[in-house]
């Protein structure tokens, strides 16, 4: 029987997986000194300013922290003067901090799971964290030169971060957040998305690939089917967060072998007040039967293991395990032995 990691590799490459990958079972999400030195918002915390000057709050019933964009808290007051407002935080960290991070990587059994550096927010998100989402979206249309320059600045910073991560921590996967759409569409017209983001992400993802990273896993829990060719060109190996609205089975037929898909279980199907195990089982089984186990990983669409309502993630987890046992004649104890214990991040 394959370890969870080996099985995930087979799924992504279209080889011979011996079961479905169970959500994030083969990805150990790990921090790095930049994230370790940033304020870690806990539920209920309000108006915390991070290294970029972005103010964030974490409402108790939200999945994560949100930027606060009241006029006084928007970092970029004028996009034509963005250099005046945007100051990247330093990425020079003491060796002890890198060592502390490396100890976390070393503690993961790399035969069972990928050691994946967690990168968030992405460049598109950082633009709207800094400018507010409406201004950022309008800026792509009205101030394209300034936005290209801002994105170049953010890309250079991310490349410096990548250099530190690769030289000190040696991850074999990257889990990179950047939400590029709503449930119904991409935020940007595909041609505009490509114009602004293809080259920066090609540079960043190529750097990781050239420095020991086997797979780039990119999170966007949204519709992205229309920008998928660009995502493939960027070098993304796994798109985590693909919602049902994308028609994932059709995408697998069209793009399988170029990119793999991780998702198809929308939070709203299972992660609500009054959810039941039946809801989880139904959503998980439907996803597996619709998509098959090549180029596809059934997973809650949110960008990390866990759920808004306690127990939902485990409900899906148990359903996938049961299905794997029944469909592939596996024993639960063997599945457990081939992976790390379940980890809830959110």
């Amino acid at each position: 029987m394959l370890t969870a990691k080996e099985n995930m590799r087979e799924v992504i490459r279209g080889g011979n997986p011996d079961r479905f990958v169970n959500q994030y079972e083969a990805i150990a999400l790990l921090f790095h000194p930049y994230l370790m030195t940033q304020p870690l918002l806990q539920k209920g915390m309000e108006n915390v300013v991070n290294g970029w000057g972005v103010t964030q709050s974490f409402p108790t019933n939200a999945p994560g922290a949100f930027p606060v964009h009241t006029p006084d808290k928007i970092v970029v007051k004028d996009i034509e003067e963005w250099k005046k407002y945007v100051k990247a935080p330093s990425l020079k960290f003491p060796q002890e901090l890198w060592d502390a991070a490396k100890a976390m990587y070393d503690a993961v059994d790399g035969t069972k799971a990928y050691k994946a550096s967690f990168i968030a927010p992405g460049i598109f998100e950082q633009c709207h964290y800094l400018c507010s989402i409406e201004e950022a979206l309008m800026n792509y249309m009205e101030y394209p030169d300034e936005m290209h320059d801002l994105i170049k600045y953010l890309t250079d910073w991310e490349l410096e971060l990548a250099e530190g991560i690769c030289s000190h921590l040696h991850p074999d996967a990257i889990f990179h957040h950047d939400d590029w759409g709503s449930e119904q569409n991409s935020f940007l017209r595909p041609s505009i998305f490509e114009d602004f983001f293809l080259e920066p992400y090609q540079q960043i993802y190529r750097y990781y690939k050239d420095h020991g990273v086997e797979f780039i896993i990119h999170h966007s829990d949204s519709y992205c089917a229309n920008i998928l060719p660009t995502m493939v060109e960027m070098g993304i190996d796994v798109w985590q967060g693909c919602m049902k609205s994308n028609d994932v089975p059709e995408l697998i037929k069209k793009y399988g072998g170029k990119i793999a898909f991780m998702g198809e279980i929308d939070n709203k199907q299972v992660d609500f007040d009054g959810w039941t195990q039946d809801d989880c089982t139904k959503a998980a089984v439907e996803a597996m039967e619709r998509c098959g186990n090549k180029y596809f990983i059934p997973c809650i669409t949110q960008g990390g293991p866990g759920s808004l309502y306690a127990g939902t993630y485990k409900g899906i987890w148990d359903a996938i395990d049961r299905y794997n046992c029944e469909k592939f004649g596996l024993k639960q104890e063997d599945i457990e032995a081939a992976r790390l214990p379940m980890n809830i991040m959110f």
């Binding site: 709503s182 119904q184 991409s186 940007l188 017209r189 939070n267």
Partner: protein
């Protein structure tokens, strides 16, 4: 500058050009109300294009911005209240939810359709929705947004409070947001659920027709 040009510039979201075009059209004798109507019609086209997936959020935003700039020039030439002639709409994202882009798009499209918007912002407690409606007895619609499954109960509580208000018969309640469905809207007693900003504006107009 023709009225058609103003219409075209709004559709194309040329916010920097619209004010001068409106001024020129006024100088040439165009009727202010006709200019307002042509911008509203332009936003109808924008809304329809968005709904059909022909344009994307940024294009809709810059069109709304262009119209806003045009209306600023027009305002002194219009009779009082002409820009919000269809009535007042109270809008907000429910308590515990900081999402604003969807709510803002709906607000822009409804405003562009000829309503006056009272935007309560995000993380709006039930009491604030109620007091806003009570302070503005001429409110026609209360629009409530929620983007998280965890804030759907807050939407339910908000709509329940509105439904219990003595003035309920005077307003329509619209709901929307990613996790919201028609079934949920029916269950909580809302009058309308729409899936996108353009449909919301269209439905709002139908309510006051």
């Amino acid at each position: 500058m023709s009225i058609e040009t103003v219409n075209d510039l709004v559709i194309r979201g040329k916010a920097k050009l619209v004010p001068a075009a409106v001024q020129e059209a006024l100088d040439e004798g165009c009727d202010a109300t006709a200019l307002l109507d042509t911008m509203i019609a332009a936003m109808d086209v924008v809304g329809e294009n968005f709904k059909n997936g022909d344009i994307f959020v940024p294009e809709m935003l810059i069109s709304a911005k262009a119209m806003k700039k045009g209306v600023e020039v027009l305002k002194p030439h219009l009779s009082s209240g002409a820009t919000g002639a269809l009535g007042k709409v109270v809008i907000g994202t429910v308590a515990g939810d900081l999402h604003d882009i969807g709510k803002n798009l709906v607000a822009m499209m409804i405003e562009s359709a000829g309503f006056e918007i009272i935007d309560l912002g995000v993380d709006v407690p039930v009491e604030k929705f109620i007091s806003a409606a009570e302070e503005n007895p001429d409110v026609k619609i209360v629009a409530v947004s929620a983007l998280l499954t965890t804030t759907m109960p807050a939407m339910e509580a908000t709509v329940a409070a509105i439904n219990a208000a003595p003035w309920r018969g005077n307003v329509k309640v619209m709901v929307g947001g990613a996790p919201i469905t028609q079934e949920f809207a029916d269950k909580i007693g809302a009058d309308a659920y729409t899936t996108d900003a353009a449909s919301a504006a269209k439905r709002a107009k139908e309510f006051v027709a």
